[in-house]
Symmetry: D2
Subunit: 396 residues, 4 copies
């Protein structure tokens, strides 16, 4: 029997019925006004989700990795210096990408489980009196460890140092699920993807670009064509696209924004927090802890659960898939085996989350881990039922 179990990977997330239908459309001429009728509300909506005031939105038929590449190739030139803390697999990969494109990355090595180290960033910026650092890279939500970094704090560090570097932020696994304030935080480029908080299939890189970044674009010499913001902006101005867009995903994006705003962005964030907190209550009841070192670092979209000594998180993930048909995330890189990850973002209800927690518990028991069946579920139930006010589940 095919099952309809939810997925608990930290993206791609469960796709709502309405979004599946919005994406699944007959062919539509992307040079026609009908396309513009889909595209414009999607762009306008993204501005609101990012809390942008000025600047431009770029939507590329690509993924988050493409978004990272677009962010740097459109603003930097070969040999430019960028400052980047590394504290997980995704911050690592963006750094690697920069290096492969010929940038000089000043890496601040940070323990996994920590977030972007504000003091060290500020110190590095202050030390760069020649302003050789052209950009600071920050991973808002490190998906590998379930750590949220303080982007506003990085902005304060930049301002305190009086440093003009661009602030480029990977918000792939945060935007649309956790508060993001592009204008307030002075973010120059925010990178999002379709397949996380926007609840779409993978296939779109979505970028908010500040006027300052647009200005940098004019001088940046890293080669790019597919990702070139200039072609995009010229085509948008003419109501079109420089090449064939992913029409269905753009239609779905417009729908996703409508759904997020119907729920209310504040309610969406509150729901994510509540489900994350329920997950953490379950983790505590299991006698385990999140990989994120301290509560202010806890991600509201993914929890990397540190498994007990002698246990292997990857075993749990494999057993959940093979025995129960449920997908969790494995530990990556430094924390491979040491954690398993529960994604709790996108379309998720109390009831769906409880099924994931119950599955994790069964796997633990199956693997002989020392856990009491029902314990995590009960802790989550208790929290969920007493905090339901903000986000009552509504029948479809």
């Amino acid at each position: 029997m095919s099952t309809h179990n939810p997925v608990f990977i930290p993206g791609p997330t469960n796709i709502p019925e309405e979004i599946r239908k919005a994406c699944d459309i007959p062919t539509l001429d992307h040079r026609s006004p009908a396309f513009a009728r889909l595209f414009k509300p999607a762009v306008a909506g993204i501005r609101r989700v990012l809390a942008m005031d000025q600047g431009e939105i770029i939507i590329l038929p690509s993924t988050g990795t493409g978004g990272w590449e677009a962010a740097i190739t459109n603003t930097l030139s070969s040999g430019d210096k960028v400052l980047a803390p590394r504290f997980g697999m995704f911050s690592h990969r963006w750094i690697d990408l920069c290096q492969r494109h010929g940038l000089d990355v000043q890496i601040i090595e940070t323990p996994w489980g920590q977030g972007a180290p504000l003091a060290e960033i500020e110190a590095a910026l202050r030390a760069d009196s020649a302003h050789e650092i052209k950009a600071v890279l920050a991973t808002h939500n490190e998906t590998a460890t379930g750590v949220r970094s303080d982007i506003a704090g990085i902005r304060r560090a930049l301002d305190a140092a009086g440093h003009p570097a661009l602030l480029l932020v990977d918000g792939v696994s945060s935007i649309g699920s956790m508060p993001f304030d592009m204008a307030g935080w002075g973010v120059d480029i925010a990178v999002a993807g379709s397949q996380k908080g926007f609840m779409l299939p993978a296939g779109l890189a979505i970028l908010g670009v500040s006027p300052k970044a647009l200005n940098a674009m004019e001088k940046a010499t890293l080669p790019r064509t597919f990702f070139d913001f200039r072609d995009m902006l010229a085509a948008y101005a003419a109501g079109g696209y420089p090449y064939t867009p992913a029409v269905g995903l753009i239609a779905g994006l417009a729908k996703a924004i409508e759904m997020l705003e119907d729920e209310g962005l504040e309610n969406v964030y509150a729901r994510h927090h509540r489900l994350a907190e329920a997950t953490r209550r379950a983790v505590a009841a299991w006698g385990m802890r999140p990989c994120a070192a301290t509560p202010e670092l806890y991600s509201d979209t993914v929890t990397a659960v540190v498994v007990p000594e002698g246990c292997n998180g990857t075993d749990l993930v494999q057993l959940a898939a093979s025995k129960y048909g449920v997908a969790f995330g494995v530990g990556l890189g430094e924390v491979a085996g040491k954690v398993f990850r529960i994604g709790h973002l996108g379309m998720l209800s109390d009831v769906m989350l409880l099924s994931g927690l119950a599955t994790a518990e069964m796997c633990m028991a199956d693997l002989g881990w020392d856990v009491q069946l029902g314990s995590g579920v009960a802790a989550a139930q208790e929290y969920l039922r007493n905090s339901a006010g903000v986000a009552l589940a509504r029948a479809a």
Copy 2:
């Protein structure tokens, strides 16, 4: 946010992705060979699911109620006597239908929570030495109380009494989910619907008709046209349908049978039993009991849970819907308020079931019932994880 919570009503059941896609097709000429290519495998598959040897399959664009009406109008005449035990809302409704069509129903009143009373049936048949009783009506699975009756036992009663009455069986909420043996049990008409074990939307009444019932059809004078088996059989013979069929549902039915047979009917029945047993373990852990009086009566498709004195099952159902977006079944008729019903049939996985049990528990706590959060879930988890061999969940 729209949620994708499973439903736990005892039908319509959760529709698998594959079946939704099979049903959702462009218009197809129902007088073309393309229709016959859909229809014939559906008919052939139904024969296997019913374990028929001889006789005919009738598929009507209707529902279970229409199936009941078709069963009697095609085999009986005004004033005919039928014997029928009444022990729940659905056995009651079929009796009511018979009376409205001018049949003389000899009702064996039976406590709700009991099944068809074999001894009383046999006694009534033996008493009917003139063979005025033309048919015995039996509800295989009484959806209101979660009681499975012993159809083989009724056949034995008929045979023991040497009585020639037809045996007409409502299998709407059993067929495709619990073992059914039309040939072995000597059933003359079996009535099924699309929206239960076949995992389709409502809209088809599906009937297996024995040669003996086909013979009765020739003499039956209750008026019917839409439901007339003769028109159906004549049209089928010509590769067609006497009026416009529900083409999409028939395409879906063919797919449903393919899915049931890919899983293996025995595995399907074992899965239903296992999920039902897990539910009953949870019920016991809550300190409650099924409405079905004894274990041999327990239904594998629906459990009517008797709620504690002073509690109201309907409150739980309403709260589950309004607060958690989950649908359970209310108590009907005599047991209104006294039970709530958990449907566990059709497409359902361990993981989906656990989410329903967890929801019921939260509602109980919310309503101030004396139940420990996680207790039912833990009992079900323990059972499920140790019995997973027969029905390993498979990722879609």
Copy 3:
């Protein structure tokens, strides 16, 4: 290769994308308020499409044939006399249904290709001074011959004769596509189906019922349960349904009405007229004629094309299906072989229609009929391009 050729059968019609999506929904508890939110607008919309003022709407999980049966079993009693003209296969079938339910049908035999004969109807009514005739049956649009009858004229005949008989109208292939005025014409029951003008899959019989018919319902003794209006009305009043409804189709019906009203019913009727007229221009260019005897009888939903002496319309239908993958309708009954039928109702654009006309022409040439390729297409093109004002095709 699978093709996406439109169908040109006179129902089921091509299903719009939006309606397919509206129908294809996850399982929803039909006892929940969510169902009522779908059902009520559908009912309210049907009232507007039928131009009803008083009375009730009944929506049955059935087909047009079931609608016919419901219309008579809810208003008449065994032995009642009804008056009915017969001038095609569908008027014939309703008469046959009446006879099988024990009604005494006074048939006015009328040549196929003609419509309901007003003078003869009036004469029969006047002759019935005892008012034994309880109902007049009329087929608004005879799908077999492409003939529209004058229902207002039948009302005038009833009024002129001062006859109290009910007026029961089969509008299955007219309602939603051609003007219908239930209140103005004094129709007592109007029968529609989901699969014609409402552009849905088959599976719903839709009836408008006047207060006079509701009054007759109280006294009617023909047996019925599945089709019983009383159960339906009692359940509707409680926000529900007496048995499991076809939830998806009802959701689709609500969408269909939204689409019809977005286009504007007058525009919908004008579009049907325009496409029908284009078809008739093509027919004339081929040197053929409609089966309908005179222009005022021409149906705007289906044209039965009389084929030349020595030709067989069924050959064309079979060749179109086997060689070009296009479905037309065969001639039925008296006109079998003598006509082929082009359905031009429901979702149909200029462009789709032209593809059907072009296909018919190719088949004619393939069969050696004396027709000039492109001739019918050109006549239709000329008409369509000069009459596009009312119904500009709009890109999806």
Copy 4:
């Protein structure tokens, strides 16, 4: 009313029902074996469609433009010389892309309407005795002019000149619709997209890469990460993907290949040729001619129709969209206004094509062009009905 008119743009093409359903799937963990079960047959099928023997397939969540970029960044280094004829908008854009990535493009300017000039290519290669030219770029099917170039001829030119340059081919609008022989023609990289012959939505760039190109990859220094073949190949080898893949499109690609192979690639090519020839017959009947200069250049996927002096092709395209809801392609660049384009690739039947031709005729008449209604349709009908043997339309 929404219409279901086919599109006649030269891509994205009409999407078959089966492929839409294959793409539209619930979220599936792309790190699970379930993903590999989708991905591997897609890759294997692409090898067959390209007629590859050795080498690798790369599938990127991108578009044809991304495929062009991937082809050069993975095989070339800054300052490398490439040879490229320019004879249309798409050959122009690839050249532009090369220049923006720092390549030194030796352009052979060729009149639009001509194909790749073999003699000039050979001469340029012979003149390059130092083998500074690292690659020859060729647009197999120039979508702007409807011209097919002779890729085998370019291979002969390379061989005749004894030149080791790579042969990089844009097959975006040919592969899957017209014969392609990667091994036989010695193509080093073939670039395809999902939205043309593969009948999918846009969103995948599909590349076949020869061993020689893989060898070049090791030394190429153009920066790339998102498009880096090395990351892809390493991830594939581990059964995965270096970042989130477009799972739905890959599932659809597997289905597309199944459909192409069920029809038979030779039959697919024959069908495209036949529909293209029917289009050209219509064009001739209108008194017009294809933009492609000579018959051996005629594309079987798109015809750019040269409009009469004083007429503007863009007017026709706009009128077809606004009045009839049908999409054709406008002329681009040098031929803007001078042509309109009829795409006849992907899922297309005789009947669908005829509707497009009929629409174009109506627009011509509406615009006052000197054309006889029905003339092009008749020419196409005559050809289609007499050549139906190879590709009988099959009902869905």
